[in-house]
Structures are given as structure tokens and as C-alpha cells.
């Protein structure tokens, strides 16, 4: 039975030391696991960083990924944030062609998707967009036909909702 591969968001707290990110990424590449996106930064505790990886795998492989990550000495805690219990967001800077014929449409989409225009040029705008994956995918697919020149995406980050 071939299990379906689904996207999963894994976030881990790790020691904020040189080489730890390399260790985590090396594990993925060495074992043939895939990385869709990766985001890493310090937390409130300067000794601890948070790494958020979006990976695509079936359940059996995902189990291996989680176990192998937990086994790393520098990984303090690991959670799969894929379900509804977590708030997920990603950000993108999108450089979109903005000529007379499509400028209005771009502005309209920016308004509907509650994005911001952070750079204005004679031929291009740069849009800053934040949202969950669904919103980002929708925005990008609507902007694509108009001509996205370049794009920088952060990939997902996530936090668990606090219990009541």
C-alpha cells in the first residue's frame, strides 16, 4: 500500500550554537528526506533557537524523520504543527509587474488580500503579503498571470495556541 505523502510542519527548539542548523539540515539531506521550506531564528531565550521545516512525506517516513530529529543531541523539543491546534503564517515579498493595464487589478488584489505595497517603481511594485498557506497560494496564483518577476518566501512558521 503506497501511503499518500502530505505536507507537515515540524517545529523544533534547538540549542543556539554554531553548527546546529547544519546538523538538522544534514540529517534531511543525508537520509533523503525533503525540505520544502525552512525558517530559523532565536527565541526569547538567547540560548534557544526555533527551526521550522515544512516537509512532505508519508506517515512511515514522517515517523522516522521525527524520531531521527529527536535523537539529535542539540534538539530540545520537536512538534508536528500540521493540525488545527497551531497558528501558521508565512510571509512573502512579491515583485509584480505593474504597468498601466494591470495596475488597478494589482491594487485591487492587494486590498482584497490585505497586503501592503512596500516598493513602487515605474514598472514594478513589491508587495508584502502575510497569511496562512492557503491565502498565500491563492494570492500567488492570481498574481502569476500578471507577471511575477521575482519572489522571496519565508516558508511557514507556527506556534501552538495556548489552552484556555
Amino acid at each position: 500500500m503506497i501511503e499518500t505523502e502530505e505536507k507537515h510542519i515540524l517545529t523544533m527548539l534547538v540549542d543556539n550554537k554554531p553548527g546546529v542548523l547544519s546538523r538538522v539540515v544534514g540529517l534531511f539531506s543525508g537520509k533523503g528526506f525533503n525540505i520544502d521550506s525552512l525558517c530559523v531564528a532565536e527565541t526569547i531565550d538567547p540560548a534557544v533557537s526555533r527551526i521550522t521545516i515544512v516537509t512532505q512525506a508519508n506517515n512511515l517516513v514522517l515517523e522516522q524523520i521525527e524520531k531521527q530529529l529527536r535523537k539529535l543531541i542539540n534538539v530540545i523539543k520537536l512538534r508536528d504543527m500540521t493540525g488545527p491546534r497551531a497558528v501558521k503564517r508565512e510571509m512573502a515579498l512579491i515583485c509584480i509587474r505593474a504597468k498601466r493595464e494591470n495596475r488597478d487589478e494589482v491594487l485591487r488584489l492587494v486590498d482584497i488580500f490585505r497586503c501592503k505595497i512596500v516598493d513602487v517603481g515605474p514598472q514594478y511594485y513589491i508587495i508584502e503579503a502575510t497569511g496562512d498557506r492557503g491565502k498565500m497560494e491563492a494570492l500567488i496564483s492570481l498574481l502569476k498571470p500578471m507577471g511575477i518577476k521575482k519572489i522571496a518566501r519565508t516558508g511557514s512558521i507556527a506556534l501552538y495556541r495556548e489552552p484556555d
Binding site: S22, G26, G30, Q64
Partner: protein
């Protein structure tokens, strides 16, 4: 008290009760060597850094202690990589100390600089670069702790030259605690109860024991468990010696070159209890067909091994020894019924398989020497009690098949990585751990040349290892595959040039002996084993002998090629 880095290293080594280090000096470790010479720690100078790591490895496998080696930066460090990967694949506790260029030169392509932490990241359990002497003591204590705890493994510590020389206040570290690392030793009681249930209900049970039993020092508990439940036991290559090889319940080794009865029993069993194993591809053959009728129990300290390769009905994360102690207690309190009657049919079936295809060879007294005959004689002459290391290939497999190990810590072989050149330095390490015991390296003529330079180490330090070379002029195992699957196209497996091993031994100041006829085998072995000091024995064996049974790669283990 203000100490420099090298002195702090000595303090920690003494606190960890390290009595032997294998190493090779160089510029970045001169300060460490200066301090080392002032301690009582025995240093064994090898002739290649790979030899230092394999020796520390052999020392660890034989004694159960953590092996330690010390090498310099750059090429010294890169020369350890094969040895480190060897230890990593077999989960052997080692602390590998490498020198490094001063911190201000790191990243500058300095002389003899190499990013050894980067290079060994995938093949160490963990590694460190020490950037401040204030961190050195803690890092070293953590290294020892990590190496020997949980699932053991090699830990590398890279020490820049300026850190060795810098001074700081030294305070002994009482306790090591790493918040992100805490292995599970105690198994879950609910899972153990499920195991007991399967043991009670099983009609055709089997135990599959591996290296984890030996690392956990659980041979006695395993033996008790098997005998109490009257369940037959098979072993992976790494598990040989975990259960007495001559016990009537022993099935011998399982897998690609395992015994007929072990492989057949695996296919027919209804409960397979895996203890300290990882269900590696050499064992399982085609995984879909492996133990197809059985519910699999998997007891292991490393959760990543469980459900990696095979479907498991009852996973138990925990230390093998502690888990077996619990199970043995539960068995004493349980009623297992009339075990003699219940097991009878199953054990009789296994015996039928044993009689159908025994491990056998035909030694014609007038013909060429059969390599299996050499191992047989070795077994008899050492009473099955020597410490045996092997190289890799046919020499390794015949040793595993024909030398029946009774106890753990006696069969020291590179299983996971399969490193040729492991045997001689590992024998040196084992001999250093047990100066009074007979230590024999079984080698092929190809493998022995990979670290032959370590003969000098053996002679210099009075480590009287005996090398038994099964000399057939070929890279035997690869040649076997070419013979069976590539229509005998022996590409690059025939070594046309070979040294005279007797003269080579003598060149090192050791004794060299040769046997060319079957009648000479026993006398040469006897003489070699009884001669003091290191000895090389060159046995000119049958050129095209194959290891049987053999499971072709990717086939189910029931489909064995038989002699």
C-alpha cells in the same frame, strides 16, 4: 587551580579512568602529548591514524569500556574518518580527540586545517569544536557521557592548539546533564505485558539477538530468558556471542550468509522477538517477505531503529538488559504451561532443517587447504575461547560460521560498515585491553594489506596478536559475486602481486609461518599460537571457494544458494 587545556584534558581522562590511548602526534597536539607523557596513561603509538581509531574500537568492543584516540589536525583527522564511521555503524563508544589549528586561523585554509566537525557530522553520535578553554572540561565530560550512554557511539572533540595552551580555573565537573538528551532505559510495563502475552500464546517462537544485547551487557539475561521459555535463538553478525553458540537452542547466524535453519525458522515462526537488533538488509533480505507469518516484538534502546525497516507488533523502547530482567521476573511469576511438550514439534522441525543442510566443507587431505578447515582448527586449538577479530569478506563470514562463540566480547568484526583493514588494529586494541588472552585476527590477503603497517605497533608494544591469513590471491567475496552472478568475469578481483607474508612478518621483527598443504595447517596454527610475540600465518587456501549458504541481494532469506 589554574591549568591549561592540555592539563585539563589529562584531568578528565584520569577522572574517566582512561588507562590507554591510541594515537599519532602532530603539530596541533604537541602540547597535549607533552602533558600526556607526564601521566601514567599508556599511549600506544600507531603507524596510521586509521589504526588508532580501529584499535580504540577493538579495545572498546573487547572490554566494554570507552575507547580513546588522539590524532593531529588536517590529514591526521581525515585519516580517522573511516574508523569513526566504522564505530558509528556498529554503535561503539569512542572518544576521538583531534587537534585543530588555532581559533583565529579557523576558516583561513591554514596549514593542516580541515573542518573535521563538518566532515564527521553524519558519522558521529555527536561532535564538538572547543573554542574556549573554559568550555573544555564540560565538553570532554559530555563527550564521554554521550559516547557510552543510550545507544553508544563515537564522539569527536576538536581541540584548537591555542585552547590546549590557554589557562583557566579548573573545577572538576560532578555531574553531566544535557537537557535535550535523555535516553529511555526503563521499558514501558504495558508493552512488556504484551510481550508476555505473545510468549505465552506462541506456537513457533524465535528470538533474534544482536549487537545491542552485547552493548547492554545482557548476555546472561538473554540466556536465562531463552532457556526459561525454551525459545530458540538466532543472532545477527553483531550478536554472535550474545548467546552460547553451542547451546542446543542456538540457531546460529541469520541472514545473507546465515545458517539454513535460522533463515527457514524465521520464515515459519509466528512470534519473532528482536532484542538489540536493527533488522538490517543483510539480515532481512527482501523485507516484504521477512518473517511474514510472525508478530514481531522489537526491544531496543533507540526508537529510530523501531519500525524503520519492518512492521512491528509490539515495540519496546528500553535498555536490553533492564527489559530482559523485567521479562525474566514476569516469566518466573507466570505459568507458561508444559514448555517441553509445547515446543517439541517446533524444535524437531528446526532440527530437521539443521540436518537437511549443515554448514559443511570437504577437506581432501591431498587437495588444497579449505579456508573453513583453517577456522575449524583454529576453533579447536583455542577451545573456542580466543578473542577473534576479522577483516571483511569471506574471511569474516567463515569465522562467523565456523567459530562458535560462547561469550560476548570475543567476536570483534566490522559489521555495519564492513571495513577491510579493521581486524589487525582492532586485534591490537583488544590485546591491549587483555594482555594475557590469545587474540587472533582472521584476514584475507587483500584486507590484511590495508593496515599491515600496524604490525610495527604490535611488535613495539609487545602485543602478541596472531594473524591468520586465508590467502587465495583474490578479493574473495567480490570474486564470489562475480562467479555466481557475473558469469565469472573477475574484474579487478585478482591480485597478481602479493608480498611474501612470511618475509613481511620478519621485516617487522615478527615471526612468519606458512602452510601450503592440509597436513601443515594444524602444526602451523599450533606453532603460531604458542610462539610468543606477534605472528603472521600465511595459509595458501583453495582459490575459488564460496561462502554458503548465500541469499542473493534483494531475495527473501528462504531462497538460499546452497553448496
Amino acid at each position: 587551580m589554574k591549568l591549561n587545556g592540555a592539563q585539563i584534558l589529562m584531568k578528565v581522562l584520569q577522572e574517566e579512568r582512561v588507562d590507554t590511548i591510541f594515537g599519532f602526534p602532530g603539530g596541533t597536539v604537541i602540547d597535549i602529548y607533552d602533558e600526556l607523557a607526564r601521566t601514567d596513561i599508556r599511549h600506544i603509538l600507531v603507524r596510521h591514524e586509521q589504526g588508532a581509531v580501529h584499535a580504540a574500537d577493538g579495545y572498546a568492543r573487547a572490554s566494554g569500556k570507552t575507547g580513546v584516540c588522539l590524532v593531529t589536525s588536517g590529514p591526521g583527522a581525515t585519516n580517522t574518518v573511516t574508523g569513526v564511521a566504522t564505530a558509528y555503524m556498529d554503535s561503539i563508544p569512542l572518544v576521538v580527540l583531534t587537534g585543530q589549528v588555532p581559533t583565529h586561523l579557523i576558516g583561513n585554509d591554514a596549514f593542516q586545517e580541515v573542518d573535521i566537525v563538518g566532515i564527521t557530522r553524519p558519522c558521529t553520535k555527536h561532535n564538538y569544536l572547543v573554542t574556549r578553554v573554559e568550555d573544555l572540561a564540560r565538553i570532554l565530560k559530555e563527550a564521554f557521557y554521550i559516547a557510552r550512554s543510550g545507544r553508544p557511539g563515537p564522539v569527536l572533540v576538536d581541540i584548537p592548539k591555542n585552547v590546549s595552551v590557554a589557562k583557566t580555573d579548573y573545577k572538576p565537573i560532578e555531574k553531566v546533564s544535557i537537557k535535550s538528551y535523555s535516553p529511555t532505559y526503563e521499558p514501558n510495563t504495558k508493552q512488556l505485558k504484551k510481550v508476555m502475552k505473545l510468549v505465552k500464546e506462541a506456537q513457533r517462537p524465535m528470538i533474534f539477538a544482536g549487537g545491542g544485547v552485547i552493548l547492554s551487557k545482557a548476555a546472561a539475561e538473554l540466556t536465562a530468558f531463552a532457556r526459561k521459555t525454551r525459545i530458540p535463538v538466532t543472532m545477527s553478525l553483531m550478536g554472535l556471542g550474545a548467546f552460547p553458540g553451542n547451546d542446543p537452542l542456538s540457531l546460529g547466524m541469520i541472514g545473507m550468509h546465515g545458517t539454513y535453519r535460522a533463515n527457514m525458522a524465521t520464515a515459519a515462526c509466528d512470534v519473532l522477538i528482536g532484542i538489540g537488533v536493527r533488522f538490517d538488509d543483510r539480515v532481512t533480505g527482501k523485507t516484504d517477505c521477512f518473517a511474514a507469518q510472525a508478530k514481531i516484538v522489537h526491544i531496543d534502546i533507540d526508537p529510530t531503529s523501531i519500525r524503520k525497516n519492518v512492521t512491528v507488533a509490539v515495540p519496546v523502547v528500553g535498555d536490553c538488559r533492564i527489559s530482559l530482567q523485567h521479562l525474566n521476573r514476569m516469566i518466573d511469576e507466570a505459568d507458561l504451561g508444559d514448555l517441553d511438550a509445547n515446543r517439541d514439534a517446533w524444535l524437531r522441525q528446526i532440527d530437521e532443517w539443521r540436518r537437511a543442510h549443515k554448514l559443511a566443507y570437504d577437506q581432501n587431505p591431498e587437495g588444497p587447504i579449505k579456508p573453513q578447515y583453517v577456522i575449524d582448527c583454529l576453533y579447536r586449538l583455542t577451545n573456542g575461547k580466543a578473542l577473534i577479530t576479522t577483516e571483511v569478506g569471506q574471511n569474516q563470514m567463515w569465522t562467523a560460521q565456523y567459530y562458535h562463540f560462547e561469550k560476548p566480547g570475543h567476536f570483534l568484526s566490522s559489521g555495519g560498515l564492513g571495513t577491510m583493514g579493521f581486524g589487525l588494529p582492532a586485534a591490537i586494541g583488544a590485546q591491549a585491553a587483555f594482555p594475557g588472552k590469545p587474540v587472533v585476527d582472521v584476514a584475507g590477503d587483500g584486507s590484511i594489506q590495508m593496515n599491515i603497517q600496524e604490525m610495527a605497533t604490535a611488535v613495539e608494544h609487545d602485543l602478541p596478536v596472531k594473524v591468520v591469513i586465508l590467502n587465495n590471491g583474490y578479493l574473495g567475496m567480490v570474486r564470489q559475486w562475480q562467479q555466481l552472478f557475473y558469469d565469472k568475469r573477475y574484474a579487478a578481483t585478482c591480485m597478481h602481486c602479493a608480498p611474501d607474508f612470511v618475509l613481511l612478518a620478519q621485516a617487522y621483527g615478527a615471526v612468519g609461518l606458512r602452510a601450503e598443504r592440509p597436513s601443515e595447517v594444524e602444526p602451523v596454527l599450533r606453532e603460531g599460537l604458542e610462539t610468543p610475540g606477534p605472528v603472521i600465518m600465511d595459509f595458501r587456501v583453495e582459490k575459488e571457494e564460496c561462502v554458503y549458504p548465500m541469499v542473493p541481494a534483494g531475495a527473501p532469506i528462504t531462497e538460499m544458494l546452497l553448496a
